[in-house]
Amino acid sequence: GAGVSQSPSNKVTEKGKDVELRCDPISGHTALYWYRQRLGQGLEFLIYFQGNSAPDKSGLPSDRFSAERTGESVSTLTIQRTQQEDSAVYLCASRLGRMNTEAFFGQGTRLTVV
């Protein structure tokens, strides 16, 4: 497709389970970002991939969170041993690898931990 695609769109999981969220960026976009958005709030930076450089993981809230990206394509965000506080919308964005360019977002994955 032409846009950023995220899956699943909704995920309900039990506390303590692991979850994997997927992001397919726009072809040719070397930069990929993951954000977390709690209800009615702004976007909390989690991790940033740029080409083959080491990712910027400075926003990951704990070692239960990890992310990978295969080359300049698909990325997965994994949350291990989920907690209720992990409930949020997880947004992925991609952009060209130049400063000041537009970030294109997927529709997000709504994660609910029960």
């Binding site: 950023v4 930069a31 970002y33 954000y35 009615g40 709030q41 702004g42 976007l43 909390e44 930076f45 940033y48 740029q50 910027d56 400075s58 947004l91 964005a93 952009r95 690898g97 130049r98 400063m99 000041n100 537009e102 970030a103 294109f104 977002f105 997927g106 529709q107 997000g108």
Partner: protein, 112 residues
């Protein structure tokens, strides 16, 4: 601590009123962007401002980048119900190598 603070956090106004949203930081940014997000969707870019002191207009929306490139404002003239949404500023602080950071958000509701 949030790098980009927005104010107000929430704004409810009637159609036809004017409003201003502020985005402030203690850091210097190479550029600032404004996005609007509607329920169930990802944010969509409205504008990018790059030069200190720059003013850009998009129909009834006016965006300004502060002279020191630490702050920005969004002014909406004669608000309409279609302007309702979450407004987010975002930027790349100098020295952060294209790490795009978002503000705390301003939720705008425009009623008839």
């Amino acid at each position: 601590t949030q790098l980009l603070e927005q104010s107000p956090q929430f704004l409810s106004i009637q159609e036809g009123e004017n409003l201003t949203v502020y985005c402030n930081s203690s850091s210097v940014f190479s550029s600032l962007q404004w996005y609007r997000q509607e329920p169930g969707e990802g944010p969509v870019l409205l504008v990018t401002v790059v030069t200190g002191g720059e003013v850009k207009k998009l129909k009834r929306l006016t965006f300004q980048f502060g002279d020191a490139r630490k702050d920005s404002s969004l002014h909406i003239t004669a608000a309409q119900p279609g302007d309702t949404g979450l407004y987010l500023c975002a930027g790349e602080a100098i020295g952060t190598a294209s790490k795009l950071t978002f503000g705390t958000g301003t939720r705008l509701q425009v009623t008839l």
